[in-house]
Point group: C2
Chain length 160, copies 2
DNA sequence: AGTGAAACGACCGTAGA
DNA sequence: TCTACGGTCGTTTCACT
C-alpha cells in the first residue's frame, strides 16, 4: 500500500490563501459548518463547500477522527528501526500487514524501514517483535525505541 | 508541550462497542452526519451526538483535517534520531519549537529523541539540521533517515 | 443515558453571472 | 469559480422515560 513516494511525479497542488484558510479552520474543528467557515474566511457557504469537496476528492485533505492510544489503553508505543537483506518493498508490505503497525516508512540511512507500533502491553510488543517481525523474510536486525513521552504531534501541514 | 506520558496516571477510558463503532465511522469520514452514524451503529441521532461530544470533550478523540505534505510541495520528510547530553526534556522542548518538526518523542534506546520533520527542499532540511538543530543546547549527535516512501499511515486506534 | 417531536439552521442541487 | 435561492435533511432543544 504505497500512499506516496518522492519523485513520483505527483502534481503538486498550489493552494490559494482562501483554501489554506479553510484547511486551517478544519484543522481546529473538522466538523465546523460550511457557513461558519465561510464567515471566517470570507466566502459563501456554497463556495466553501465546493472547495472542501475538491480538497477531499483530490486527496490533498482528509477529515478524520484521531484517537489518543494512551487513553484507550494502548500504553506501549515504540519506533522500530529495521535492516533488510534483499527486497525492502516486499518486507515493507509484509510488516505493514501487522495490525500493531500504524506507520511505516522506507528510509535511507542505517535503517531500511522504520515502523511505529502501538501495543497494549510489553508482552504484546515483545511477541510482535520476536515472534512475528523477526520472522518476516528479509528482516536481518531490528532496533527498538520505546516511547517515554510524546512531546509534539501536529497535523497542520500546508498552512504555515 | 507534553501531550501524554506513560505511567502518567491518566485514566484509561473503557469504550463500549457502540462508541467504538461510532469512532470507526468517524475515522472513515469525520463529517458524516450524526443520523447516518446512528443508522450504522444502531442508536438515535441524539445519542450519537451525546457520545461524540463526550469523546471530544474528554480528549479521547479529535476530528481534524489532515493534509498530504507531498501534494502540497513539502517533499522532503525525514526522521531524525538525536542523542542528548544533559536535560533531555529541555532539549525536546527546544526542538519541538521548530516549525518543521511535526512529531517528537522521547525514547529509550540509542536515541534520546526522535523527531519527524517536513521540509520543502533538501536545502531547507540541511539548514534545519546543521544550523539550528545541532546548536540546540544538549544535542550531541544526530542521525537522519530520509523518507524514500511512506507505506502505511493509519489513525484508527482503539477500534480494532 | 436514551428517545421523540418541533423549530431552526445547515446542506445540496441547480441556475446564472 | 463564485453567488443566489429553495427544497430537503440534519441538528438542536426540551420534555419524558
Amino acid at each position: 500500500m504505497v500512499i506516496n513516494a518522492q519523485h513520483s511525479g505527483q502534481p503538486v497542488v498550489q493552494l490559494d490563501e482562501k483554501s489554506k484558510a479553510i484547511i486551517e479552520q478544519l484543522q481546529h474543528d473538522g466538523r465546523q459548518s460550511y457557513s461558519a467557515i465561510g464567515q471566517a474566511v470570507g466566502l459563501s457557504e456554497a463556495a466553501v463547500r465546493q472547495r472542501v469537496s475538491r480538497l477531499l476528492d483530490s486527496g490533498v485533505m482528509q477529515i478524520v477522527a484521531v484517537t489518543d492510544p494512551m487513553q484507550l489503553g494502548f500504553a506501549r508505543q515504540a519506533l522500530i528501526g529495521i535492516r533488510i537483506d534483499g527486497d525492502v518493498v516486499a518486507a515493507a508490505e509484509a510488516i505493514g500487514e501487522f495490525g500493531e503497525v500504524d506507520y511505516l516508512v522506507i528510509t535511507a540511512g542505517s535503517f531500511d524501514i522504520i515502523a511505529e507500533v502501538i501495543c497494549e502491553s510489553d508482552a504484546d510488543l515483545f511477541e510482535l517483535i520476536n515472534d512475528r517481525l523477526r520472522r518476516v523474510p528479509g528482516v536481518s536486525t531490528t532496533e527498538t525505541f520505546m516511547y517515554l513521552s510524546l512531546h509534539k504531534q501536529k497535523y497542520n501541514w500546508g498552512t504555515r
